[in-house]
């Protein structure tokens, strides 16, 4: 790959494993892309194997120079092969991308990749001058264009693999790498041997990166994947490949497939440790030889290394006899002795057998203090209780608190190797055997059932410095198995002493494990669920005389829509999309109809019996005609339209359960009877119905916010019944204008949520619907 570098051969060797004989023959699969059947057939008929592969180059560029005055450059790329004599032979061109300094060309350039030779490629990027835009790219004369720049590369890859292990801090540490295979897009490397000490455990995630060797040391990452040793075993068993991908800096960080990794050999070989042998009965036989040379000094001299101190203090050739004493630290700071262990002879790492019993009180924090003494030989025959501590050698002290406020934190391992916390449980105070409330995780949070999750158990500390008690790594699938098998999994912590051993700190059990499929709003719509739109318009006098241009109901001859028309249009447009029959019930309220009575629910189209209109246009027409025929009156009462909408929604349930109703109420004013509306809303809250209220004009809509119940206060009717769901969404039109969000966005924000709440609470799933039979509406 280019430059000469010292000791190239050395740099290409495999590192970190035991070399073994390669027994796998190389395979070469002809690439399918841009395959020329005729050519291949020709060669095959003459007994010649293909020595090349067709590859497709996708090109993109960034930060190009801006050559055009009035707009940006219009770049096009040309690909050349540099021939032996230095001349450039054109291989292909991309299309021209208009007005872009960061073009992502769609046209691919096909190149024949020959395995045996190194093929240098040269790329030229041109800014195509405007007057050539209608010509086919091939016809463009390059000398007439603006040259933007050149790049070269070599069409060969020297791939090698590097395996890294993800460590606790989130980073990764390389364990080993394969040798470099020159000029090969389908390389087979020699086998690698890894020890458990290197990769941790069979489930530890390993990052396998495939690099293109570069003599300068700047190896280019071709692609990578993350697999555990167990995953690699499965790949080998299933004879399947795993995708090597790279995150594209364009395309919004999409993963680009760069190749596949296959595991040709996979063998586990058990290697026993020193402790395995000892545990199985192997013994070390200890023999002692003591130095009696004169250089130690006369034993009668206190400076001698052999001096036996009458006071009992041990010289270097002897050892300590430790005993531990446990105290409880009382409120006044005084220490109260709780118990003592026995004396262990001759040990600097004692494992006392005598236990100390402590009364653990859940309510208070109990600090404990430990003192370790070296007991003088002459006291060895006394009961431990009788020993006077002030006569012993004090070796050291330790304290701890006998209380833990544990909580769990679950994190997900991300591609870069780090971990991102997903959730944590509540803190259980003062409990060494805590049971936490169930946690719910969505697939969006944990990725996939096999994604490794880190579960850490912390001891809550008010200052925020929570102490890690222990942790473990499990995937969702593993947790499911733990639940099934009713078994626990060890929480461990890496000890800073004892040579980084894992210290067992507790066990984690999974008491509940339930998978629940959750469909999205679009899943339902796709399977045939419909939204049915209904609209109710405020005809109270507070809107102002419609003939007056200041009126909220003024129909502008120039075509400019008033607030009512705008709300109907914008909301209706979206809902109409989901409403299959496009027939909408449309009502008015608070107006005086032709017979002189004030109605709180009259048909907008003026008909006595039929309340439906066709399409959003139908609503607009009915609205305009109603303004001519109905006199504005009052008061502002929603109860009747809500009840009617509820009736329609309820009746539809007799036929099927795939319809959801949306009532849009457009009003300018404050409700006259808030309780009546609350009653109607509570009665309607258990139905497939959502109510969107748009407030037009400048009134104070404070009470409407109460109906919206976004603050968590459920609506209460006058009979004591409380709303089952929050089915109201309220948006004041002037807020929409101030904040420049569309009224549709604001109003419909809660709609999919309310729809899903209704469906999920009744376990109604997206399915091809059929007419209800008795008992169809199940819960």
């Amino acid at each position: 790959m280019g430059n000469c570098f010292s000791d190239m051969q050395g740099g290409k060797q495999a590192v970190g494993g035991v070399q073994q004989r390669s027994t796998v023959a190389a395979t070469s699969d002809p690439n399918n892309a841009g395959h020329n059947d005729a050519v291949e057939f020709f060669y095959r008929s003459r007994g010649l194997q293909q020595l090349f592969a067709q590859i497709e180059l996708s090109l993109s560029a960034s930060d190009l120079l801006d050559r055009d005055i009035t707009s940006k450059s219009d770049p096009m790329a040309v690909v050349y092969a540099k021939q032996r004599d230095g001349k450039l032979k054109e291989l292909g061109r991309t299309e021209v991308v208009l007005n872009s300094l960061n073009p992502n060309w769609i046209e691919k350039v096909t190149v024949t990749f020959q395995f045996e030779i190194v093929q240098p490629l040269v790329f030229h990027v041109y800014d195509v001058d405007t007057k050539f835009h209608n010509l086919p790219v091939k016809m463009l004369k390059l000398e007439d264009q603006d040259f933007l720049g050149e790049a070269t590369c070599v069409l060969a890859e020297d791939p090698f693999l590097r395996i890294s292990r993800i460590i606790e801090s989130g980073g990764s540490v390389p364990i080993c790498k394969t040798e470099v295979v020159n000029n090969n897009l389908n390389p087979t490397w020699k086998p690698l041997c890894l020890s458990m000490q290197q990769f941790g455990s069979n489930d530890n995630p390993l990052i396998i990166e495939c690099f293109d060797f570069n003599g300068s040391g700047n190896h280019v990452l071709i692609g990578k994947l993350q697999k555990s040793i167990a995953d690699l075993g499965k790949l080998h068993e299933g004879r399947s490949g795993s995708n090597l991908t790279i995150t594209s800096s364009h395309h919004g960080h999409e993963k680009v497939l760069k190749g596949q990794l296959f595991v040709d050999q996979f063998r586990e070989k058990e290697q026993y440790s020193f402790l395995d042998y000892v545990a199985s009965g192997f013994e070390l036989n200890f023999m002692v030889a003591v130095d009696f040379t004169a250089s130690n000094g006369d034993p009668r001299n206190p400076d001698s290394l052999h001096y036996i101190d009458p006071s009992g203090r041990l010289n270097s050739y002897q050892r300590s006899d430790p005993m531990a004493v446990v105290y409880a630290k009382q409120r006044d700071g005084k220490l109260k002795e709780l118990g003592r262990t026995e004396v262990v002879l001759n040990s600097l790492n004692p494992n006392w057998i005598e236990k100390v019993t402590v009364t653990f009180q859940f309510e208070i924090v109990q600090p404990l203090v430990f003192h370790v003494y070296d007991v003088d030989t002459k006291f060895h025959n006394l009961p431990v209780k009788m020993l006077k501590l002030e006569d012993q050698d004090f070796l050291g002290e330790a304290t701890c608190v006998l209380a833990e406020d544990p909580f769990l934190r679950i994190s997900r391992i991300i591609e870069s190797g780090g971990s991102v916390p997903i959730c944590k449980t509540e803190v259980v105070n003062n409990n060494l055997n805590p049971t936490w409330k169930p946690l719910c995780l969505s697939m969006q949070q944990f990725g996939s059932n096999d994604n490794p999750l880190i579960i850490e158990c912390f001891d809550f500390n008010g200052s925020g410095n929570h102490v890690l008690i222990g942790k473990l790594q499990k995937s969702i699938a593993d947790l499911g198995k733990l639940h099934e098998g009713r078994s626990g999994s060890n929480l461990t912590i890496t000890s800073s002493h004892h040579g980084h051993e894992k210290v067992l700190k507790g066990q984690l059990f999974v008491d509940q494990f339930r998978e629940k499929e959750q469909y999205s709003f679009l899943d339902y719509v796709a399977s045939g669920f419909e939204l049915n739109f209904m609209v109710a318009v405020d005809f109270t006098a507070s809107n102002g005389d419609p003939r007056n241009p200041d009126s909220l109901h003024y129909i502008d001859p120039s075509g400019r829509l008033n607030s009512y028309q705008r709300a109907i249009m914008e909301v209706g447009k979206v809902i109409q999309f989901y409403d299959t029959d496009k027939r909408f019930p449309a009502w008015g309220f608070g107006g005086r109809t032709y017979d002189g009575t004030i109605s709180h629910r009259f048909n907008l189209n003026g008909s006595a019996s039929d309340f439906e209109v066709e399409g959003v246009d139908g609503i607009m027409a009915a609205y305009a005609s109603a303004l001519r025929n109905v006199a504005l009156a009052g008061p502002t009462l929603f109860g009747q339209v809500i009840n009617t909408a509820a009736e329609i929604a309820g009746q539809s349930l007799s036929y099927n359960n795939n319809k959801y109703f949306v009532l849009l109420i457009i009003t300018d004013g404050v409700l006259t009877d808030l309780q009546e509306t609350k009653d109607a809303l509570v009665r309607a809250s258990d139905l497939p119905l959502s109510i969107l209220i748009v407030g037009v004009g400048g009134a104070d809509f404070g009470q409407m916010e109460v109906l919206d119940a976004d603050n968590g206060q459920r609506l209460e009717s006058s009979t004591g019944r409380v709303a089952t769901h929050d089915i109201v969404q309220f948006v004041p039109m002037r807020d929409v204008h101030d904040r420049q969000i569309s009224v549709v966005q604001a109003l419909l924000e809660e709609l999919p949520g309310q729809f899903l709440t209704y469906m999920r609470s009744r376990d109604i799933q997206p399915r091809p619907f059929h007419v209800a039979q008795t008992g169809q509406t199940s819960g």
Binding site: G650, L653, D686, L687, T724, A772
Partner: protein, 169 residues
């Protein structure tokens, strides 16, 4: 004619329930009454405190004449138990109306204590199991006669009597 029908009531959960002005610690349970004689009790909720969760299904024999059911939340006391909150569920909230007879109703009610003060919310679900012979799931809409030009009638909607007046049977 039978003198009762079955109500499938699931006592789901309670919210913000207090005993003597303090949040309930544990062991709350629910008693359902349809008339003065019969009552049904749920298990005690161990860990929920003032937000107990029972999720317990109770099959309640509803006498034909009964107009409402009473739901009581009770707590264990040293002497037995004490009712901390009561709610009345009227028949009309789950029978009649426009929804199918066997619709699963999710209902919630304000609980009030013996002094009439508000004390939390109770969440239940109710499904009426209507006896076979009086079963009807929906109003039936008739089919127009295909009589061509001479046809001048309309279409009727038949509403089974059971749906409209359940208490009469």
């Amino acid at each position: 004619m039978s003198t009762s029908y079955t109500l499938e009531i699931t006592v789901i959960s309670g919210e913000n329930i207090r005993k003597n002005r303090k949040p309930v610690k544990k062991d709350a349970f629910v008693v359902i009454r349809t008339d003065s004689h019969k009552f049904y009790t749920t298990k005690m909720d161990a860990g929920g405190g003032s937000y107990p969760a029972w999720n317990e299904k109770v099959a309640v024999d509803m006498p034909m004449h009964a107009r409402f059911i009473t739901v009581e939340v009770q707590c264990k006391t040293s002497g037995g138990s004490k009712t901390v909150g009561t709610a009345r569920v009227p028949l009309s909230d789950f029978v009649g109306g426009y929804v199918p007879q066997n619709y699963l109703h999710f209902l919630s009610y304000r609980l009030r204590d013996c002094n009439g003060e508000r004390n939390g919310i109770i969440n239940i679900s109710v499904r009426a199991k209507v006896p076979e012979y009086a079963s009807c799931s929906r109003a039936e809409i008739g089919v127009p006669l295909a009589l061509g030009e001479t046809y001048s009638g309309g279409v009727v909607t038949g509403v089974p009597i059971w749906c409209a007046y359940p208490a009469k049977f």
